[in-house]
Point group: C2
Chain length 292, copies 2
């Protein structure tokens, strides 16, 4: 039975943790996947491993693809789309995968790109503390959200098509929102935890943790194994939203600190109860809830 | 072959997450285990489940035990040890399991307790975000540290005995240190992550996280499912060390915030690289490293 994707070609630009995992996820569904990466060693590894049907160190390998996922660093996305715009396949869709959307979408939605394709901002909501092709795996996105921040509702047919193919590849759901809302939410859900992990391990106690630590230490410090180049770009490109969230966080920490410092058990227990109530209410959602 | 524990009796006071898990872990090694809990329903459940050989709602159930683990709230430990001191078995050892050691040890090491037993401060380094007997399980402490903060080196024979029996029950190692060093390290490895989780979920963004979150959110917020009564006691009893760690954390967050806010990518990337280096160096240790 034709599921609407017979002969369909997926392209992936950048075969790092995210792009490599996307390529493997789509490949596992039986779709044709082409990969572009500037590193020859990555291209060889992806071909050898069967993560892609075709791969090369030039973007031209993607020019006959119907949907291209651009999994590049923030600084490289706009340049990649603009410089290859005239050569993308007519009617094709290019979706970026970068962790900030305001800046990328503002530049690419307002530009006269030329060519006959549609660009849509995107962000697959999964990752690990590791990076690079060697860290990629087909199941990374199993059950995860793929967030899309399209220019306007005129993209609704494209979005339905993207949703079909993303769910087929293992994503749990597709969430459509504005670049602005995306960036605020991601400042909280993703960027702030990275700030916290990095700030945490810089305590003088950290090197002595062995023998005194358990799950809390492991979880809070996990993403301190960070990619400094990528995340410094992401933080700076979203600095207003991120700084707001850091300020809120510090204010909340100060409230707990002050209650503890003054021995005010009533206020302290009330703050912790409030946190627990919020956490318990949040936990009702999850990756299976309310697909759009 | 006699392993030195034939006929040995373990007692556990307080069959919550920690005490219930200790009882189950010791029981699984074939040792006799008696349990005391003030809640009748917990005593019944522990007996029914076979987590203990004997159990009751009075401490007297523990009076023929050779080693008693007191897994009670901080506020209850001193009272429990003092009021039952004359009745503990001659030559027995009472180890508490509470997350702060300065205050408990100061009170119990200086007191004339009466009786013919030895009290040693202790802290099994595992837990979950859940609490109560129903959350307990035999494997909770598999590979974990058990920290002991004895009064003096005259306890070395007892400590060797405790070490043998704790390793037998699945702990990865026994760490011996001072109450002061314990409390500083625990402020960092355990209390601070709980402050962070609670402060984090109090952001106005938290209730909207669904669809925008992945592993970072899950890990940082996990322990916000907190026991407010227990942790407000722990925070206040260790407030000096905890407030120091909160202040260091806020200073580190401010440094990252300032670098992002001013768009200073060089400084920001250097801070993140520093964090990564520390994290990577820390990760070499782990629960198998350097048993004492």
């Amino acid at each position: 039975m034709d599921d609407g994707f017979t002969g369909f070609r997926i392209g992936v630009a950048g075969l790092g943790l995210i792009g490599g995992s996307l390529a493997k996820a789509f490949k596992s569904t039986g779709l044709y996947v082409a990969g572009f990466d500037s590193a020859k060693s990555v291209v060889s590894a992806a071909l050898k491993e069967g993560a892609v049907d075709a791969a090369g160190c030039e973007p031209s390998i993607l020019f006959d693809c119907d949907i291209i996922f651009a999994a590049l660093y923030p600084a490289g996305i706009v340049q990649f789309v603009k410089s290859n715009a005239p050569r993308f396949k007519t009617g094709s869709v290019v979706v970026d995968c970068c962790g900030i959307k305001n800046k990328v979408c503002a530049e690419l939605y307002s530009a006269e790109l030329g060519g006959n394709f549609t660009f849509i901002g995107g962000h697959p909501m999964a990752g690990t503390e590791n990076s690079g092709y060697s860290a990629s795996y087909a199941e990374l996105f199993r059950g995860a959200s793929f967030i899309l921040t399209p220019k306007s509702s005129e993209n609704s047919v494209i979005i339905e098509k993207l949703r079909d193919i993303l769910l087929k590849a293992g994503f749990g759901r597709v969430v459509v929102t504005t670049p602005q809302h995306h960036d605020r939410m991601i400042a909280f859900t993703s960027q702030l935890p990275h700030v916290l992990a990095c700030s945490y391990v810089m305590s003088p106690c950290c090197p002595q943790h062995d023998g005194f630590s358990a799950g809390s230490f492991r979880d809070i410090s996990r993403v301190a194994h960070i990619n400094p180049e990528l995340w410094s770009q992401l933080f700076i490109e979203n600095k207003d939203e991120l700084c707001d969230e850091i300020d809120i966080m510090i204010k909340n920490m100060q409230a707990i600190r002050d209650a503890a410092a003054s021995g005010d058990k009533h206020t302290l227990a009330a703050l912790l109860q409030k946190a627990r109530d919020i956490k318990d209410a949040c936990a009702c959602g999850g990756q299976d809830a309310g697909k759009i």
